[in-house]
Symmetry: D2
Subunit: 141 residues, 4 copies
């Protein structure tokens, strides 16, 4: 692991100055990460269910965390491709949890997969794979 839980948590808070609206880091390992997001009214579609873009946002930042666990704190790593399948309707008024694992981390690209769940429910509500572009070292922070 290239960063500690605390270092990454602080880094994410700096990267996303609008508070914890992007999610909270829960666990971090070598090439994997888990984050949760409390769902509030701004995240919901009618019926109280969390919207697709909110789930995509949590999936995205969780893969980012998993990527950084491998390459260190690189702020200029950006998503180049994201594919997501929405599998089941999320539970209303329930936090969402994302678990991401890197499938490959190369010199210029990282590919990760992430499962999104309604907290406390076994079957995933969404599954996504995405590619992050890793900038050349001379451009890293």
């Amino acid at each position: 692991m290239k960063v500690t839980f605390e270092e990454l948590n602080r880094f994410l808070q700096d990267q996303f100055p609008q508070g914890a609206a992007y999610g909270s880091l829960q666990k971090l390992g070598d090439g994997w990460a888990e984050m949760t997001l409390d769902v509030d009214d701004g995240h919901l579609r009618p019926g109280g269910t969390v919207s697709g873009p909110v789930m995509m946002g949590l999936a995205d930042v969780t893969v980012y965390a998993a990527l950084l666990s491998k390459i260190g704190l690189v702020p200029l790593a950006v998503t180049t491709n994201l594919n997501i399948n929405f599998l089941r309707k999320p539970q209303a008024h329930t936090p969402i949890r994302a678990k991401a694992t890197m499938l490959k981390v190369g010199r210029t690209m990282g590919v990760g997969e992430v499962f999104v769940y309604s907290e406390g429910v076994d079957e995933p509500v969404a599954h996504s794979t995405m590619t992050y572009s890793i900038p050349p070292e001379k451009y890293q922070n």
Copy 2:
């Protein structure tokens, strides 16, 4: 066209009660739609550039609008798959615009593609294709 611009605009406002945070309908045609989103601090990554999930959100609702122009006001149509390629860095502090066209609208599924732009710049910042599931008529509104 199954709905007028005004009908769809009102419908979207009801669907997204948190104001115009999802985007503003600009144009509507038979199977296509254009929407814009003013970018504010909550949408930005460090450096002032609009985030991926915000672009995905605008892309998603613009395809939804294009779909509804074909099938009418169906609130239970939901995204089942979304794929997006981020092509170029968006301009900082600039609204984003999405133009969506339906590639196919069937009985149970609609597939659309959408280009996302920084307002005033020709080259797209992102391109996405997505699939919406259309619920059986007995479940419509």
Copy 3:
């Protein structure tokens, strides 16, 4: 499991009359399947490495097998969406193996994920998720 290994194997052979060019069923479980494909000259790009479309073909039929293990022998189930990430260069002149698992099987759609490997190498050469459309019962075989 809705079919036995032998039933599915025979069914696939009928579906793909050009012999075992699509792959060989190796293992079958409830919602998962494994298939391999021997690589010959027709499958190769210069350098002896198996081509992308050949890997996509094996991924596709392996998810099909995993799907049928859940829903039975439905010939009209077709792929509606496929997303694939090519992660590593396959080994030259080496068979490829695919392991597919269904993420969700509903009434009208099934979503599966599949890892593709060069036989004998731990790290996957590709990863794919895809959606199959399941025709209404009155249209099944």
Copy 4:
């Protein structure tokens, strides 16, 4: 345009030694290409309709041609991501045609989109977007 129609045609034939099984180059422009593929028994699913993987293969090589029109004859450019939506059933016993356009060509990556048709039918049977990785110049043949 970085290559002529004849140069690219010859190059593709060298790259794919098994004859014209990959498709025939029909038109080439600056950042776009069109190819067709005659469909024979080996390409078909029961019912005489061309299979998904065959359409993916034609889509893939047509984007490759469009990419090379921009960057020249680079044999080591490889597909890293491909997403495809199958929209309509192809016509039985009918050639397929693919039209690809590059959405962006950068230094390390190119993203293209491609429509696939049954020859003579207006509505596309499939639509795909894909990313090609462009190797550093020192690795280019």
